[in-house]
């Protein structure tokens, strides 16, 4: 009977949510906006590309003076420039629009600024003056070095292939960091999408005065767990709907969107961090869900429950204020505090797990803490729903609820 009722609650909650027009409007509005943005970006990329091409080919008149002696007149001549004899006259010509630009190279371009004067041709086109002035100097310097390889090295354009080891084995580096951090991303998406619904899920029974009918038909634990599972399913549907345009955009419009080519074959899936990440996700989800349901059972209306919502949301973002410390100095007292404080623990621990600074004992400690507290809070939530949801119009007194011992 219990399993039958759990399935009944899950299917009722999922179906009634997914068949609501309001749900689909709210869910589809994000991917539709993303789609519109992708379309606009795609269009503007094409237009920008054409504009860059036309700028590349567009020549402009300029003159220059060179106090450094580095500039090669041949390079300047190749791009259509001429030496100036009277800097003040050249600037005046630019001001009058008779000359497009004038470059004044200082004695030491490495330390002093090269002055560029140009006719204003719009914020995007004006950039070409500085670019050309720089390219002239770079090309001239390369010519003086006389070795293409040395020039590349001087410019720092090097390919580095790193291999790092952890406990005697090759560690994944950044490719090993990304997969466990995906659990953190899922945690954020699920909580942000569903927290408000979790908060108001049991409020519906209270606001509709349907609690007594429910409590005499169904075990409250079954109802609460059924609602949580249904919300998770709804959240998965929402995530798929959100992700779909991004995936389609990446697969079919990557070049027009100028998206980088992600080679996921290089990602390293280490079992340890992946298992820890998954358990932290489930434990954190249980704790936050239980807390939100408990708050919903206490508050008489969605409006009043919403005040608590902001606090809960702040708690999952707080660890990001010390993210640099979380990554660089995991033993710092504030990081340790955030690792074990229940409502900052999931995010902090998942971050540290991703960056490899969460030790095995710490992992076990946080996971056990989250699961135990999650179970306790869910139990309290059920009790608050059982006794609190009969208080239709007033906030429930916790003391009254917990005085009623079985």
């Amino acid at each position: 009977m219990g399993r039958h009722n759990l399935n009944t609650v899950i299917s009722f909650e999922v179906v009634r949510t997914l068949t609501k027009r309001r749900f689909w409007i709210a869910t589809l509005i994000v991917p539709v906006i993303i789609g519109i943005v992708i379309g606009l970006v795609s269009l503007s990329s094409a237009s920008t590309s054409a504009s860059v091409d036309s700028q590349k080919n567009a020549k402009f008149t300029f003159s220059y003076v060179d106090a450094s002696g580095i500039v090669n007149p041949a390079v300047v001549k190749a791009v259509g420039g001429t030496p100036a004899t009277d800097p003040a006259g050249a600037v005046a010509a630019v001001k009058a629009g008779k000359l497009d630009a004038f470059f004044d190279y200082p004695k030491n371009p490495a330390k002093q600024a090269t002055k560029v004067y140009g006719v204003d041709k719009g914020i995007f086109n004006d950039g070409k003056y500085g670019s050309v002035a720089t390219q002239i100097l770079v090309a001239s310097a390369q010519g003086r070095i006389g070795d293409a390889a040395l020039t590349t090295i001087v410019q720092g354009n090097l390919n580095i292939d790193s291999t790092t080891y952890k406990d005697g084995a090759v560690s994944g580096g950044i490719n090993g960091v990304i997969p466990p951090l995906l659990f953190l991303a899922i945690f954020y998406v699920v909580i942000l999408l569903l927290a408000n619904q979790m908060l108001t899920s049991t409020l519906e029974e209270k606001e509709n005065r349907v609690t007594e009918m429910i409590l005499t038909t169904l075990n409250p634990t079954t109802l609460v767990i059924g609602k949580v599972i249904a919300l998770f399913i709804v959240g998965v549907v929402q995530m798929v709907v959100f992700a779909l345009p991004v995936i389609l955009g990446y697969l079919f419009f990557r070049s027009s969107l100028n998206l980088p080519n992600f080679d996921i074959s290089h990602l390293t899936l280490s079992p340890g961090p992946m298992i820890v990440g998954f358990l932290l996700l489930v434990g954190g989800f249980t704790l936050f869900t239980g807390t939100l349901v408990a708050v919903g059972a206490i508050m008489p209306t969605a409006k009043e429950a919403g005040q608590i919502f902001g606090i809960m949301m702040a708690l999952i973002f707080v660890p990001f204020y010390v993210v640099a410390l979380v990554v660089s100095d995991p033993s710092a007292p504030i990081v340790q505090l955030f690792t074990y404080f229940p409502y900052s623990a999931p995010v902090t621990a998942m971050l540290r797990n991703g960056f490899g600074s969460l030790s095995v004992p710490e992992s076990i400690g946080v996971i056990v803490e989250l699961f135990v507290l999650g179970a306790v809070v869910l139990r309290i939530a059920v009790r608050l729903f059982r006794y609190g949801s009969i208080s239709y119009t007033s906030k429930v007194s916790l003391r009254t609820v917990f005085q009623r011992q079985k």
Partner: protein, 309 residues
């Protein structure tokens, strides 16, 4: 109270309920026998709803035993119970048929059986065309009919109706009574909370009158009437009615009076005493005291028994 011998369906013994420092039920004991219609009567705030909620495990009693079919109620037994609470409510944003099917399934019916039963019921109560309408689009009376349907789904053994007729017009009240009667014929035991004393007198096999968290009267209707004197005399007269240890003058106008007997004295003896005292008696009729009169006696004039209308 003697321990139950005929295995009552509902058994409440020395029930006490405190909310903080407030005692809502002092000491309450009664039982409800299988197949009977039991009237749970009392003024507002007398503790009726609290007793029902404690019986159904929604409240934890401070003390006492509250059993249904020999044990405390568990939600798992919900498919054998039909409960229409005083606080009416269903999922208002959902369609009528979806809500009814949901509750039907929670009461142990299969999806198709729950839907079929619901459609039949809606046909009977004249709401067949509203099956796919959202509940909040229905009138209050129509919503009540839907809620009654949810209550009686899957042939409950025990029906607890907390002011079932509240908000119904006379036609729909009749329809509701017919439905309850059908449930009784099918073997259901009915516990009804009502302020309609005539309704209780007509339908109930036994009643309990609750006042300040304790039973003021308990038993069959004649037994309760006997507890309050049992017989009432209505008379028109001239003269002065003398005081007597055998009756109370419960109502008196210029030439009309109602006397409630306080003991088993024969009505003929009262009539002779009145005549001997010089009262000119023009008419003299006797009847059993009504539940409504008993209600007024117990709770006073400020609590009209039909005030929920």
């Amino acid at each position: 109270m003697e321990p139950p011998t005929a295995e009552p369906l509902v058994y409440i013994d020395h029930f006490r309920m405190d909310f903080g420092k407030t005692t809502v039920i002092r000491d309450l004991s009664f039982d409800i026998r299988r197949g009977e219609t039991f009237g749970f009567l009392g003024s507002n705030g007398s503790g009726k709803t609290t007793t029902i909620r404690a019986l159904l495990g929604i409240y934890q009693p401070t003390a006492g035993i509250l059993h249904i079919d020999g044990r405390p109620f568990q939600p798992e037994d919900g498919n054998r119970l039909g409960y229409l609470p005083e606080e009416r409510g269903l999922y208002k944003k959902e369609a009528v048929i979806d809500t009814m099917t949901y509750f039907g399934r929670l009461k142990g019916l299969g999806k198709h059986a729950a839907t079929a039963w619901s459609l039949d019921y809606l046909e009977r109560v004249g709401l067949a065309d509203k099956a796919k309408t959202r509940l909040d689009k229905l009138s209050g009376g129509q919503q009540q009919k839907v809620q009654l349907g949810v209550t009686i789904m899957n042939q409950p053994e025990l029906l607890i109706l907390d002011e079932a007729t509240k908000g119904f017009d006379p036609v729909n009240r009749r329809l509701l009574m017919d439905i309850i009667e059908d449930q009784k014929k099918a073997g259901a035991t009915v516990m009804m909370v009502t302020h309609q004393m005539q309704e209780a007198e007509r339908l109930c096999d036994r009643v309990i009158l609750l006042k300040d968290g304790a039973a003021e009267a308990y038993g069959t209707i004649p037994e309760v009437q006997d507890q309050f004197g049992g017989t009432m005399i209505r008379m028109t007269y001239s003269g002065t009615i003398p005081k007597s240890p055998h009756y109370d003058i419960t109502s008196q106008e210029t030439s009309y009076a109602e006397l409630t007997l306080t003991d088993k004295t024969d009505e003929a003896v009262i009539l002779r005493d009145l005549v001997d005292a010089g009262v000119l008696v023009r008419s003299f009729t006797t009847s059993k005291i009504s539940l409504e009169d008993i209600f007024i006696q117990v709770y006073g004039d400020e609590n009209s028994p039909a005030e929920d209308n």
